[in-house]
Symmetry: C2
Subunit: 278 residues, 2 copies
Amino acid sequence: MQDGVRIERIQATGERVLETLPEKVLFDTVFGRIESTPRNLVCSSNKPAPGLGLECGDCDIKGLSICESLDADEFELLERIGRTQAFAAKATLFEQGRDAPFVSNITSGALRLSKLLPDGRRQVVGFALPGDFLGLAMQPTHMFTADALTPVKVCQFSRPGFSDLIDRKPKLMRAVLNMAAHELSLAQDQMVVLGRRTAEEKIASFLIGMRSRYARIHGPSVHVPLPMTRLDIGDYLGLTVETVSRMMTRMAREKTIVIVPDGVRLLDVARLEQLAEM
Amino acid sequence: MQDGVRIERIQATGERVLETLPEKVLFDTVFGRIESTPRNLVCSSNKPAPGLGLECGDCDIKGLSICESLDADEFELLERIGRTQAFAAKATLFEQGRDAPFVSNITSGALRLSKLLPDGRRQVVGFALPGDFLGLAMQPTHMFTADALTPVKVCQFSRPGFSDLIDRKPKLMRAVLNMAAHELSLAQDQMVVLGRRTAEEKIASFLIGMRSRYARIHGPSVHVPLPMTRLDIGDYLGLTVETVSRMMTRMAREKTIVIVPDGVRLLDVARLEQLAEM
DNA sequence: GCTTGTCCTTGACGAAGATCAAAAATTTTG
DNA sequence: CAAAATTTTTGATCTTCGTCAAGGACAAGC
């Protein structure tokens, strides 16, 4: 037996593989932690609302996230319990069923949120982008697994700390409630997609959806980055990789989209919107 | 042209039919309102917490609903903006896309919550039972249609009034948030069912799910009422009526369930749970 | 009580998408 | 840069579930 830590890795197929890793590598590979800033975010304590502190001031997504709706004192309290954390691509931020010590606000990168059935079938319940919040349900254990599709940065808050804070700051709680309500609404839309749409319509609605999500971040564009694989898309839409590939190839052949290295370019948005129509 | 009100009824097929109804009948048929109590609920204003007023005191579901977590003054404020309302079976409580002047707490009966695609395909996003809350999203317009499957009673609250109230009463807001979080979690479970399960597994998970929901209300039992039609079940699970019927018949033939007039009786819960396994 | 309508069931057949297999393209790693 | 691994694409075949059709059960209404 080598030196190191024995871990059991669960494959996409549900198969369990035993591996032995040196302790150092364990952290980088399994937990993917490549950088940690356990000090308080800056935004120095008694600066007034408009002049935000350095790190939060530089934050690209403060207008998109939970932070948007806060006034100075709430913002400050939030900072006090938060810290930034970075993860490498392919790292697992947390796993379904494990304890949930933190809730997080994504500041950069993209995540895949998925649920695994005992036999290895997988359902991707969403993709998280900058401004999204993980842990809205505030349950003590995670309801799905979160994997980094790209390098990811998040603001983490202790879950009990965050829970106490929202109980004392109604505006913050309202922001969380609105976010949860929005997520619920998206989940119900996705139920329609999964239950009642053809493969072609599923792909169209996925592309239109990703486009509008990136529009919030980068402004509207026909270029839609797709940091996830075809397999991930299939597992999100209830299709196989092959069907996703075939449909996207067909759409490209029909000049509805162009497939580019990091995603797609939408040539015929009207056609896609018609297919995706709610 | 007869006397009355012309209405356009949208069929399940998406077809639009014009009808003319006498005004009186319009309310009963289209809006299904059969009784309204616009006065305040009783629970007379200055009675203390344990001795609840008459109507709310008689309420079967106060322990299941939003009301559970409230203290005396919050409860009283909630009563002030609420009223009870009853609907006949098959009545439409509200329609997707229409203004949402109220949020409601269901006190008895069962509802079907559904979304209609432009071409008539339908996705049932949920069934609401006593204790469930409609309007968690607190959006100004309804995101789905709610139809009564049985006679239904609800406590209605003005949406703006309720929204203001939760902003002032953090405990109430927290109750709403917890409910929304729970709904979100259920919606994500349903995504797994819709995306990655076979017809047989879908039926099993539906039956197990209905059983556990009724268990909260009536206590655990192998008798599971099914107030919805096979078509409704199909539209909930992304299946056709025929497939639902075939699968249920097969399960009955295999002695996993017994089909009874108002629902099913589960003979082999273990088998169903295995099929539905998360 | 008979008609009407709705709901449920069953059978025959077909199609959308899954599965299996393998090659091509792309990315990662040493 | 070459080898290895992963991802994507394409083709052939199969299966599950949808579609179409029709009969039966049941409740509602005249």
